[in-house]
């Protein structure tokens, strides 16, 4: 069930470049199940910034009633967020949307997890759950440059991890698709989150495979009421899916990218 709660900030730190990790605690964590879901964050009680900000759930610690988000300081909202201190509270609406289907990968199978930039965080809880289940995971993570890399060590503990940077300043030079092409991984399911061009390239590269993509779109309500975040579905002029409530994860081919 979706809830709204003033959650407390337990920890908050800058982990690289403009990337921050924030840990929140509250009862809302009880509702969190699927990796790939997100929360909608109201940053401050004032009318500016007005709208909530969608941020993915990166890690869930149900026992401790804690969850983690990792975000990039981008514009007004995330800049103010970055100034919040442990002990302060944040107005969270969530969990929202449908996450990555864990059941798509069976014990003993291989899952390829492909993340680009700020699309990397939701793959972390996913990977943990897959590993728990006995799925073999391979991570391919792409970043702009060395200073933007994060979570590499955490992913490495869960499975094979390849890091690529566009400028070659760290790891393999190039895009995640370059890495995948080069290594020619075999996998049963591909899960991905990142910029749309990357998702498109993956969908095209593996047209007949089990591919799940997490999309981004500018949102109003985050719960399916405002029609801000729709995307088209194939072969229809009026049919649609909402990224916030039908997604953000879709099977490749389910919606037009």
């Amino acid at each position: 069930m979706i809830r709204k709660e003033q959650m407390s900030i337990v920890a908050h730190e800058r982990i690289s470049d403009n990337i921050y990790r924030i840990v929140l605690t509250g009862d809302l964590v009880d509702e969190m199940n699927n990796p790939g879901q997100f929360v909608h964050v109201k940053i401050g009680a004032q009318a500016e910034p007005l709208l909530r900000r969608p941020i993915s759930i990166c890690e869930i610690k149900q026992e401790r009633k804690q969850f983690t988000m990792i975000y990039r300081k981008e514009g007004l909202g995330t800049s103010i967020l970055a100034t919040k201190m442990p002990g302060e509270s944040l107005d969270i609406l969530g969990p929202l949307g449908n996450g990555f289907p864990l059941e798509a990968a069976e014990e003993g199978q291989t899952a390829l997890l492909v993340g680009g930039g700020i699309g990397v965080p939701p793959l972390y809880e996913l990977s943990k759950r897959l590993v728990e289940k006995g799925v073999h995971v391979i991570h391919v993570l792409g970043f702009q440059h060395k200073d933007a890399v994060f979570l590499e060590n955490e992913f490495a503990k869960l499975g094979e991890t390849y890091v690529a940077t566009m400028d070659g300043s760290y790891g393999i030079k190039g895009s995640v698709t370059d890495v995948i092409a080069e290594h020619n991984f075999s996998f049963d399911v591909l899960y991905s989150c990142g910029p749309k061009p990357m998702l498109k390239a993956l969908a095209q590269a593996f047209p007949n495979q089990n591919v799940y993509l997490s999309l981004e779109e500018r949102m109003g309500c985050g719960i399916g009421a405002c029609f801000a975040c729709v995307c088209r579905v194939p072969n229809s002029d009026t049919a649609y899916k909402k990224v916030c409530s039908d997604g953000p994860v879709f099977k490749a081919g389910e919606v037009l990218l």
């Binding site: 069930m1 709208l51 500018r218 109003g220 801000a228 975040c229 009026t238």
Partner: protein, 313 residues
């Protein structure tokens, strides 16, 4: 006595607070959060004759204390609204105000005729002012004669009272309101969104795929208050006020300006509980203000004591 109950043409409301059209879908999402029977009414999303996909995305952009939207009247079309959405809403004890839109007068007339027959539709709201559609929409909302003509045609076929939703994007809102009142409208709703635009600094392109969009939220509240203040003094049909309402205090400000009920739009996105919260806060605020019944507040900013206005209590 229920201090919040108000009576408007076609509408016996347990309280004067309702979600604004387009900001609440057909209620399904908010029903997860609270019992929709708590609401005074529900203004459902604009319904057109045929299903519409609307505009490409991005469809929203944020602005200082406001947001722009260019949804483009996406909706499942009259048939589905009649067969699925309205029947689903019947489970709640809440009157529905059906917001209708079209590209031609005939569109409006057809939708009005059919949708006004639905048992839980107690009033129509003519959206003659949507800035985000290429045809129709805005033109109906800016030329008094056109708006009056449309009102007349819809009044002829509608089985329930007709409210007309005014666009703020006009030089003379009073002139529009008077023409619509004369044409037989039972009430006015105001304001729709203000035309606006944002440009992305990095790409130099408009943020909205539609380029321009409609500004809503707290930023436009002073514009709405000014227009309701002027129009309520010039017409004798009631006004359902909207534009940036976030709190019980805002509701009272709209009543003082001249509204007899209010709708809450954008604030639902910020806080899904905003409508029930406001409904809960209102009686406390009335106590603080020493007001017995909310209808006494209507027009208080311009009404000399004793002078009557549309009150509807």
């Amino acid at each position: 006595m229920n201090r919040l109950a108000v009576k408007l043409p076609g509408l016996s409301l347990k309280n004067p607070v309702m979600p604004a059209s387009g900001c609440f879908g057909f209620g399904r999402e908010y029903a997860q959060f609270y019992d929709l029977s708590q609401l005074g009414a529900i203004m459902i999303k604009a319904t057109t004759l045929e299903p519409r996909f609307g505009n490409p995305t991005p469809r929203v952009a944020e602005t200082p204390s406001g947001m722009l939207n260019a949804i483009g009247l996406q909706n499942p079309g009259l048939e589905k609204v009649l067969s699925e959405e309205l029947p689903w809403l019947e489970q709640f004890d809440v009157p529905i105000i059906a917001n209708i839109a079209g590209s031609t007068m005939e569109d409006y007339v057809q939708v009005a005729k059919e949708i006004s027959k639905a048992p839980n539709v107690h009033a129509l709201e003519l959206n003659i002012s949507c800035p985000n559609v290429k045809k129709g929409g805005i033109a109906f909302g800016t030329i008094p004669e056109v708006a009056a003509e449309l009102t007349k045609l819809v009044k002829e076929v509608s089985e329930v009272p007709v409210y007309v939703k005014l666009s703020p994007n006009v030089t003379n809102i009073v002139e529009m309101a008077k023409a619509i009142e004369e044409a037989g409208a039972d009430g006015l709703t105001m304001i729709n969104t203000v035309l606006g635009m944002r440009i992305d600094i990095k790409s130099a392109a408009p943020i909205l795929a539609n380029r321009t969009g409609g500004l809503s939220g707290p930023a436009i509240k002073p514009i709405a208050i000014r227009m309701i203040y002027e129009v309520s003094q010039a017409v004798s049909i009631p006004i359902i006020g909207m534009g940036g309402i976030q709190s019980a205090e805002d509701v009272i400000e709209f009543f003082y300006a001249g509204a007899s009920a209010v709708a809450v739009g954008t604030a639902n996105f910020v806080d899904p509980f905003v409508c029930p919260n406001i409904i809960e806060e209102l009686p406390k605020l009335l106590d603080q203000l020493g007001v017995e019944h909310i209808s006494e507040c209507t027009g208080r900013s311009w009404r000399k004591s004793g002078q009557s206005s549309y009150c509807g209590a």
